[in-house]
Symmetry: C2
Subunit: 320 residues, 2 copies
């Protein structure tokens, strides 16, 4: 999807950017939160940090130059994600939990830019002290989710290499937990002794059994892993063996979910943001425990979160 | 240590062998369980499986040929470890728990050998159905431990790449659990995002804190891991940060120990078999929970287990 040379004229009201580690996504927005156009690029934070000829402003203006008519001045560009990291465009210090969406918007930093046509706001990530944790980018998805579900109370799950679970109550993000599940699954299935037990085979029932097993022994993760291998070794000759990938995936995701379920308070709900295979696995694992959570599209929710931040920034600048 | 050309004459009563995946160790023994000599070799199971010119008998006889006078016939050679695996010399089917030391000895298999001077016994490993688990080699250490501590009741820990914990009661190995702690620590510290947080720095107090933390949140392993990184990111500027290796190691070992402590029954004890840095870490982690466990040398205990198996095999052959 590219809209590089599209001139939106006076409809163009602001620009939304989700700047990740390995890619970025940019939307041209009108005054009524309609998408006029969008563009994606592989020039995430890591690519820019690794190339002295690139800068965040050069990359951004290169993508949106065709949208910017000559007479535009100070068009708001609202960015979430790694552009605000220490190694990013300009560090946007973490906002502490508990945090309201407006706290996040007010924590935005403004890098100096050479191009007078844009005015850039970089949103902060969230941090939690005590039980140390950080996020950058997902907090904007949470803000988008809260805009669509203002009464929601409970835990929102964002599956990924590092899954995030955030507790939402009374219009605030009150706590969150990162789980290294995706990275641990990848390392174990590709580089540990369990790689001999993992192939393309898959069985939904074996996955569900492993999710149940992880909940029955929630402290036994490091032991349960070895069962992926031992299960095949102790099976009677000729017996069918559960596919290792299903068992390993169910053990990892199931252990993560068992920990969160232990924190769930009466009356709290669970919501799921994401798409594709991974979100479906989390949906299936939650269903094992009787929780119905339909995955909600992450990109739409990110854009909604950026729109809410933009609205706060506009009203704040009018107040001042 | 080499004693390849030593002639022990009629003192030589039997030969003990610990044949692992990546090396083997051989002892010349007299009738009173004294060590006459010993020899080590890197020709473990993997080296033999990878070289068509090698066989287990060729490797073994090559090491002990100098010990065997011409008139020796059928000298007992008692072997534990991977020589009994499916990919080993001859498969010695797993013995089920609960198992007595005599059950293990009676499960030994006898491969055909060309050299008439030796008579080879390969001891079986242990397996557990239900909560699937297997071991090969460590069961002989457990037998050696039980010979020295006949009244012991509780859990014996054998730290390693895959740590083993076995429950011993009434002269039987009743259950056991493998933990992939060593391999998980190595993968995380070398290949995950946590590698940026792990260097040569070490702090005993930070290790102990992480052990306590793992016990306070025993279901949170996949989340606690991320704290190794997040702890440094949320620390105030200028604050000292706990060395990542100590925190990661304490989290991994502490999670393993928290799971075992949850299984410990009143009156049960904990013992530790091993040596070096890793055994010291387990000793320190157990001390955090008030368990005093002095590491006992593994090689001595293996030899004691092989001696007990030899005694059973000799008395069984006299009975027959």
């Amino acid at each position: 999807m590219s809209a590089l040379n599209q001139d939106y004229g006076t409809s163009l009201s602001w620009i939304a950017v989700d700047w990740g580690t390995s890619n970025l996504r940019v939307w041209a927005m009108d005054d009524n939160a309609n998408i006029l156009g969008s563009v994606e690029s592989p020039l995430g934070m890591n690519a820019i940090a690794g190339d002295p000829k690139l800068s965040f402003e050069v990359v951004l203006v290169g993508l949106i130059d065709g949208w910017l008519t000559k007479d535009i001045v100070g068009l708001p560009v609202v960015i979430c994600g790694m552009a605000g990291a220490k190694q990013g465009w300009l560090e946007a210090p973490y906002c502490d939990v508990p945090a309201r969406p407006t706290d996040l918007a007010k924590g935005a930093v403004k890098p100096d830019v050479r191009d007078p046509r844009i005015s850039v706001f970089i949103l902060p990530g969230l941090c939690q002290r005590g039980d140390s944790d950080v996020m950058r980018g997902e907090e904007t998805q949470l803000v988008g989710f809260m805009a669509a579900h203002p009464e929601f109370a409970g835990w929102v799950c964002l599956p990924g290499t590092h899954s995030k679970w955030a507790r939402i109550a009374d219009g605030k993000i009150t706590a969150f937990r990162t789980y290294m599940s995706g990275e641990v699954f990848a390392l174990l299935s590709q580089h540990s002794i369990l790689r001999h037990s993992v192939d393309d085979g898959w069985d939904d029932a074996a996955f569900a059994d492993a999710v149940r097993g992880a909940c029955a022994q929630p402290t036994a993760f490091l032991h349960s892993l070895f069962g992926v291998r031992a299960g095949a070794l102790v099976a009677p000759a000729g017996a069918s063996v559960a596919p290792g990938a299903s068992v390993l995936s169910g053990t990892v995701i199931g252990t993560e979910i068992a920990d969160v379920l232990g924190l769930l308070q009466p009356g709290e709900n669970i919501a799921l943001i994401g798409a594709g295979k991974l979100a479906s696995l989390y949906q299936a694992a939650l269903a094992v425990h009787g929780h119905k959570a339909t995955p909600q599209d992450g990109a739409t929710i990110t854009l909604s979160g950026l729109a809410r931040a933009h609205a706060t920034l506009v009203s704040t600048s009018k107040e001042n």
